[in-house]
């Protein structure tokens, strides 16, 4: 197995595991304030130290992982769920008004700066994790639609698509049976990139106070709260920062590794 797949799997797996464990157990209650022990460095009692309210950073990171992963996952699902079919549809009807319509609508969404619109949506409908998901998800749709269409268009020129047409298969069926499996590589890599961008976007929204609301911990908000204390207790900022960096890195490595492992043409060479 490839090294990138192992490292990527471990890093992403750690984030996922932390999120899952936090559902049933965390070392400390993340809502319990303990001002007496505020801004402590890593100790035996608090492995990653405490923040300015004396809350356990390890516990907050675990619970925060839940928010980050859930937001990014649902946002990617929205993007793929709508973007991929739209892209396949546009490619199958290349040059038609449908293709034009889908692609121009994509351009329209692309034309807006994504974070500004996300801020607009969450500001209009109220700051919450759900609204953050919707805002990030909408911007994933054109990304997936474009990647899907570009990948599919080159495949539509190939002979095995013609062979399938000669076998009487319709456009929808060809798209599902021949096109989609062959662009799965592209989509997997793109979804891990979007997943990591989703984590960053959620952190960004929470950082400006429009994501998850207190007392729900989130990596972005932990960073925001730590910024005034960077010189005083750098670990309070470093820990959530590291969590974001390692998870994003892990997801990107995982995407690369999965792409190679899922391709039957490359599979033989991995052993």
């Amino acid at each position: 197995m490839k090294l990138s797949l192992i490292i990527g799997g471990c890093l992403s797996g750690m984030a996922l595991l932390a999120a899952l464990i936090s559902l049933v157990w965390t070392p400390y209650d993340v809502t319990a304030l303990d001002i007496a022990h505020k801004l402590q460095g890593p100790t035996a009692a608090h492995w990653l130290g405490t923040d300015h309210f004396g809350r356990d950073i390890a516990s907050m990171l675990m619970t925060g992982a839940r928010t980050s992963l859930a937001v990014a996952l649902v946002a990617v699902t929205i993007g793929m769920g709508l973007g991929v079919p739209l892209g396949l549809w546009a490619a199958a009807r290349r040059g038609s008004w449908l293709d034009e319509g889908i692609m121009r609508a994509n351009d329209l969404i692309f034309a807006f700066p994504s974070l500004v619109i996300a801020i607009l949506i969450t500001a209009t409908f109220g700051p919450s994790a759900t609204n953050a998901i919707i805002a990030i998800g909408i911007f994933n749709i054109p990304v997936f639609a474009r990647v899907t269409r570009a990948g599919a268009l080159s495949l539509w020129q190939l002979d095995y698509i013609r062979a399938a047409q000669v076998a009487g298969k319709g456009r929808t069926r060809i798209s599902g049976e021949h096109i989609l499996p062959n662009i799965a590589n592209l989509l997997i890599v793109q979804s891990t990139i979007q997943f990591s961008l989703g984590i960053l976007a959620e952190a960004g929204l929470s950082y400006v106070g429009l994501g998850a609301q207190p007392p729900t911990p989130s990596w972005g908000r932990m960073l925001a709260e730590a910024q005034t204390m960077v010189t005083l207790a750098p670990h309070v900022a470093i820990m959530p920062g590291l969590a974001i960096v390692l998870t994003v890195l892990g997801l990107n490595l995982l995407g690369d590794g999965l792409r190679d492992a899922l391709d039957p043409r490359l599979r033989g060479r991995l052993a």
Partner: protein, 527 residues
């Protein structure tokens, strides 16, 4: 006088031997044909001479050019030699040119680099060289970009770049494989003239024996990294020494048995078919101009017959094929298969009488499906019968593969095996007509002979009709009984294949046949 000498050249990449003990000599002004099948080491020999082998290649033996051993030159010294002493042209003229640079600048660049000339000087020499390769002013100004030229013209630019510095040795690696037959003849003529007039030695690498027959002074035959035979061209064709050369020659002139069915009923009837394409408007309010890709074409294929369709690229062959397969609608005329009209909206069961085999053995299959599923695809038309597994096994056996191959992926097969699988896929629903769209063009000559034999056997056993579309006239001549010649969307000549090839009536057919490289008839009989 010897210009180039390869002495026991051996190349290894990793643990794989690429070239084994290759020894060659080449005199000034001599044309050497280097022939062999794909993977035999022809291109690697060329790259070794150019000093362009990958870094991890291990080389032993000597490469001596004009008394200088190239093996002991540094990369810097080799850069000086490349272009000025040795030069090379490649198969694909589009990727050999920079699309962002004018042709004048590309030819001048070599001169400025090696001779430290001023741009104006270099451009005036570039003009001379482009004139020399037949791209004369004022029709071909230096300011043209590669996309404004045809494939043959681009290859001429590549040749002009290669000869700009009067190299002593020019290596041409399959220089005409991507070109049409009439263009190929022109480019080969140009290369021959250059060698003769400028005293330049030429190594012509090709898989096509007929090309070297008309060009080379001597021929070296390569197999699996070794030179199996070197001889003067005529001697090699008349008295091939090595068994491998004999096998190659036999395969190149192979004629599979033809099925004769004079009394057969019409199977496919194409009547006055016209296919139009709308082109972009030339200006904002002008009407769309129309391209008649297929223009009033009529012909008939009878049951069990092999009909050839030849023509150069862009003549409308592929457009016509798409219409016959019922993938595109036609704008005029009708196509009928066993009496039923063909159109993109035809009912599925009517498509079962017709299947297709494509040119590219690599692009014809979904790489993510196993052979079993690939072959089964046409069952979509009929519904999968209960004995489908037996039918798959039978189809694989019929095309000379093992039923166990069904659970393998397509990338595990060679080009020839893939074409067999493509034929199995076409056969599985027992069609009456198979369209062979350049089906053997990408195959090596021996594999091609085997696939042609297979097609001939299947035709006899299944009473199949073939529509054999190809740009390769010699193959069409060998396997079809009747033939159509297409030019600019129209059928310009039609008739029994042998008559059409021996006494062509149409001027275009005559040009095509004259341009086709062939091994002279009197060489085939032993001297």
């Amino acid at each position: 006088m010897t210009l180039l000498r390869l002495d026991h050249l051996t190349v290894q990449i990793g643990k794989t031997p690429i070239l084994r003990d290759v020894s060659l000599t080449l005199a000034r002004g001599e044309i050497l044909g280097l022939v062999g099948e794909s993977g035999s080491g022809k291109s690697m020999t060329a790259l070794a001479i150019m000093g362009l082998l990958p870094d991890r290649a291990r080389i032993s033996g000597d490469i001596i050019l004009g008394g200088l051993n190239l093996r002991h030159r540094s990369e810097r010294e080799m850069c000086q030699l490349r272009g000025s002493d040795i030069s090379m042209i490649f198969q694909e003229p589009m990727s050999a040119l920079n699309p962002m640079m004018t042709i004048g600048d590309q030819v001048a660049e070599t001169l400025m680099l090696h001779r430290r000339m001023l741009r104006s000087e270099a451009r005036s020499i570039a003009r001379e060289k482009l004139d020399r390769v037949g791209l004369r002013a004022p029709r071909f100004p230096l300011s043209l970009y590669p996309h404004e030229l045809s494939g043959g013209q681009r290859q001429r630019v590549a040749i002009a770049m290669a000869i700009a510095l009067h190299p002593k040795l020019l290596i041409a690696d399959e220089p005409t494989t991507a070109l049409d037959v009439t263009t190929q003849a022109e480019v080969l003529d140009l290369l021959r003239d250059l060698a003769r007039e400028e005293g330049m030695a030429l190594i012509l690498i090709t898989h096509d024996l007929a090309v070297v027959a008309g060009m080379a002074d001597r021929v070296a035959v390569m197999q699996a990294g070794q030179i199996v035979e070197t001889a003067p061209t005529r001697t090699l064709f008349q008295r091939p020494d090595a068994p491998y050369t004999q096998a190659l020659l036999a395969a190149a002139t192979h004629h599979p048995p033809l099925a004769a069915r004079p009394d057969a009923k019409p199977l496919l009837q194409v009547e006055n078919v016209t296919r139009l394409y709308r082109l972009p408007r030339p200006s904002a309010f002008a009407p769309h101009p129309e391209l008649r890709a297929v223009d009033d074409v009529s012909f008939t294929i009878h049951a069990g017959e092999s009909l050839g369709l030849v023509g150069e690229s862009g003549c409308g062959k592929s457009t016509l094929t798409r219409a016959i397969l019922g993938l595109d609608a036609v704008q005029g005329g009708t196509i009928r298969l066993t009496g039923h009209p063909i159109s993109p909206t035809m009912p599925r069961p009517q498509r079962t009488d017709m299947q297709i085999v494509f040119q590219d053995p690599y692009g014809s299959f979904n790489p993510r499906q196993r052979v079993e599923r690939l072959i089964c695809e046409p069952f979509h038309l009929t519904g999968r019968p209960s004995d489908w597994r037996d039918r798959v096994a039978e189809a694989l056996r019929e095309v000379g593969l093992s039923p166990d191959d069904k659970s393998r992926f397509i990338h595990e097969f060679s080009g020839g095996q893939r074409q067999r699988i493509a034929i199995a896929r076409a056969l599985i629903i027992r069609p009456k007509l198979i369209v062979l769209d350049e089906a053997v063009s990408a195959l090596d000559v021996q594999v091609r002979a085997q696939v042609l034999d297979l097609l001939s056997y299947l035709q006899a056993t299944h009473d199949l009709a073939y529509l054999f579309i190809s740009h390769d006239l010699s193959v069409v001549r060998a396997v079809t009984s009747r033939c159509l010649v297409m030019k600019a969307g129209k059928i310009v000549e039609e008739g029994p294949t042998e008559a059409l090839f021996t006494t062509p009536q149409n001027a275009y057919t005559q040009t095509l046949i004259a341009a086709t490289p062939r091994i002279p008839q009197h060489w085939k009989e032993p001297a």
